[in-house]
């Protein structure tokens, strides 16, 4: 079975995000970059399929040079090889350009099932997986929490408001992974060491023949407004405190 897992390198969710003064992006100094958590579920599912059905797992990622680390992380977990789409021309690619580049890279290799995270935690767009399936002309099941593969088709569980959908699809198809699909593994040390020697193909836009134009343009990054500091209610006893609280809820918060 030929399995592909797409990954994106994103800032650690705990990292301090500072917007550049000119609003053109975020200041990357001091940021710890990690593999997008939802992509990890995808990689883990890919590895489990491989363990069950044989085959190999290819990791595809688009991003600057540092993204190689995310690919290596997936290789350390047990994936076999990587394709790194690395091209300054693709910096700031929107979902459409990203999906086009991924599609171009994946078209060049055999694939039976493609995993993506259901969204990336940096821009929270949640579009690439779906677009990728469209560009490749194959079915997709998004936000999957359970997956079974039998021969030439899959059965995927997808939570929807108050219920679960059980969806069947032929292969090949795109699956976007949701939390709950699995518990991603911790890479073993021999795995980490072997990952350093696994092949990673670096490709640029030209080599892939990607000429897609971005459909979205980010105008400006602005930091969220600072949260006003919390108030500690003081007062001699419970009655005094309560009356102060009521006053504040009325006048300041205007909720009662």
């Amino acid at each position: 079975m030929n399995i592909v897992a797409c990954v994106k390198q994103v800032p650690d969710t705990e990292a301090q995000i500072r917007v550049k003064p000119d609003g053109s992006g975020i200041d990357e100094t001091g940021i710890k970059w990690v593999m997008n958590a939802y992509d990890e579920y995808g990689v883990e599912e890919a590895l489990r399929l491989k363990e069950k059905h044989g085959g190999d797992v290819t990791i595809v990622s688009l991003g600057p040079a540092r993204s190689l680390e995310a690919i290596r992380t997936a290789l350390a977990m047990g994936a076999d090889k990587g394709i790194h789409i690395c091209d300054p021309a693709l910096d700031g690619a929107d979902a459409y350009v990203t999906a086009s580049a991924l599609a171009a890279a994946i078209k060049g290799i055999p694939f039976d099932v493609i995993f993506c995270g259901q969204r990336a935690v940096d821009d929270d767009a949640g579009q690439v997986g779906a677009m990728l399936a469209e560009l490749l002309g194959i079915p997709q099941v998004t936000v999957v929490t359970k997956l079974e593969v039998n021969g030439a088709s899959i059965r995927a569980t997808k939570p929807v408001e108050g219920a679960q959908l059980l969806i069947e699809s032929p292969l090949p198809c795109v699956i976007t992974a949701q939390k709950g699909l699995n518990e991603p593994r911790y890479a073993s040390l021999p795995g980490i060491m072997k990952a350093k020697k696994k092949p990673v193909d670096v490709k640029n836009a030209q080599a892939l023949g990607v000429s897609a134009e971005a459909k979205l343009k980010v105008l400006k990054f602005v930091p969220p407004p600072a949260r006003p500091p919390g108030k500690i209610i003081s007062g001699d006893d419970a009655v005094a405190k309560a009356s102060q609280l009521v006053g504040l809820l009325r006048q300041e918060a205007k909720v009662i």
Binding site: E14, R185, S188, L189
Partner: protein
Amino acid sequence: MERVTFSVGNEGRQVFWNVHDFEWLLYAFSVVALAIFAYGLYRRWKMWTAIGKPEMRIDRIGERLKALFVNSLLQLKTFRELYPGVMHGLIFFGFLVLFIGSAVDAVEFHITEPFGFAFLRGRFYLVFSFLMDLFGLFIFIGIMLALYRRYLLKPDRLGYREERDNTPDDAFALILIALIVATGFVVEALRISVTHSPWEYWSFGGWVLAEVFAGADVRTAEMFHRILWWLHVFISLLFIAYIPYSRLLHILTTPANHFFLSLKPAGSLEPIRDFETAESFGAGRLEDFTWKQIFDADACTRCGRCQDGCPAYLSGKPLSPKKLIQDIKTHWLDRAAIAGKQSSGGGEASGAGEPAKTLTGEVVDLHELWACTNCMYCMEHCPSAIEHVPKVVNMRQYKVLTEADFAPELQLTYRNMENNSNPWGIGAHLRADWAKELGIKTLAEDPAVEYLFYVGCSGSFDDRGKKVSVAFARILQAAGIKFGILGTEEGCCGDSAMRGGNEYLYQSLAQANIEVMNRYGVKKIITTCPHGYNALKKDYPNFGGNFEVYHHTEIIAELIAKGKIALKKPVKGTFTYHDSCFLGRYNDIYEQPRTILKAVPGVKLAEMERTLSQSFCCGAGGARMWMEEDIGERINDMRTDQAIATGAGTIAVACPFCLTMLSDGIKDRKREESMAALDIAEIVWKAMDRDAAAT
């Protein structure tokens, strides 16, 4: 043989009296017994050398001989406990004196007497006889104490919960010794009953017993003497021959283990140096242990002292350090037998062949492996100098590094440490926020300070821990000590990674810290966390981090002694101090925290029953802080109960992990109203009464 006559003034006794015809026969049997002994030892030797990686344990001979002297000859560790100490001491010193006595006897008889110099005469003989009888009696009493304890008292430590450990070998060894002594006394008594030498009351045992045979005629007495003598000889030789095939072998293996003991700091581990090319890390199979780690198992006497203070065992987890070592021993006996066969068949003594059991999961249950808090109780009190903790960590390394198969909550902890250099995974940029309002400079701002205050993760991120950092920083400021912090350049010390088997992560964290510390030319470091203290002080030198490291209790004690801080405001109440394992057993810091508490006006100190080197772990060490505790009782609750029993209103601690665990224990026991856990620094800061000045 020429007969010597003894008389008052020239006291002595005829060696081989009544049995001199059998002298040659005795030697012939002795040779047989020694041959059986030697063969057993030879076989054991082959087993000791069959499996195990090399390890240097014969360097620094002087220190090793000292350990041998103190632990084997003086029995200092055994004497730490009264009953078993006295029991073993009686047998041990009894044997020692009887052994020396027999040697003296033999030297006189075979070497000096033929040259006309007999020194076992007169007063020397009388004292000699007296001592031989006295120590013979000691052995007998010791054996009786042992039998009583093992078969009637049945202490928990001589078993594993409901199961008793007792094997036929245990009983046989004890009875054998008892019979040697008993027959010895009877032989002596029969001799005295015939010879009637008036000075023989010095051999008081035989003298008293001789009364029993007083009425017998000489011929009968002589005949019985001969029979009993043979019995005595036979049992004694059986004893010697039996040693290598029984638990008696500890007479040799335990002293050997004292000699081979680790000269490294308590609980320290050999760092893994080759991450790049090795295929396997840690100990997944017996063959991954060093020869010494395996030899340990053979030196274990099943005394059970380790088990008696093991927090994992006592809280109902499957782990018992004794059982762990014994399980390894049983497995080793199997493997070594196979390896022995292969080597005699000309093959390599690798112990390979049929797939061997894995240590991790088959020989040692994984719940046992992960239950250990690395509290060091077992190693501190093992009279045989067995090193349990490094074995546990080596096996964990196999699970974590080689197999990456371990508890999900610990995986999360490690990811957090990888991504944000702290176990909680709180953004690394927030590390110095606790210090925002204190005006403490980072070394980047001012590297010219006397001390680096290495705050650690708890002190930086945990709400309770942050308060301790603030209190301690204020104490330093009030005392006018020049210190700085690393701010966001500080990283996790890595202790939990190391003790949880993630040596790779540990080393990367350690190296990052060392790099920063060396860049600023740091010389002296203070920590408030004993885990960081131990790692920085004992383990960082392995990676080029050589610093003078102090725990904050050492610094505070000194500030008080030098009068740099004044504790004037009474902090009333009864306090009990909980010894942190990593401070006490690992680093021998027991006194300073107590000295500090005693210096606080109004403090009444009450000790818990398990205290000082016997202290009971809070449950957080060995990466247990980050793991679920779902078997048995919670260790922190048990420790809290022990504190409650003292009647104290405050549990004083000197470790942020203990602080968390015991605060949780107080909550679990619904004592928040009447009890609190406080760090020593917080108590001192209260007593300094400077809050108004500081804020």
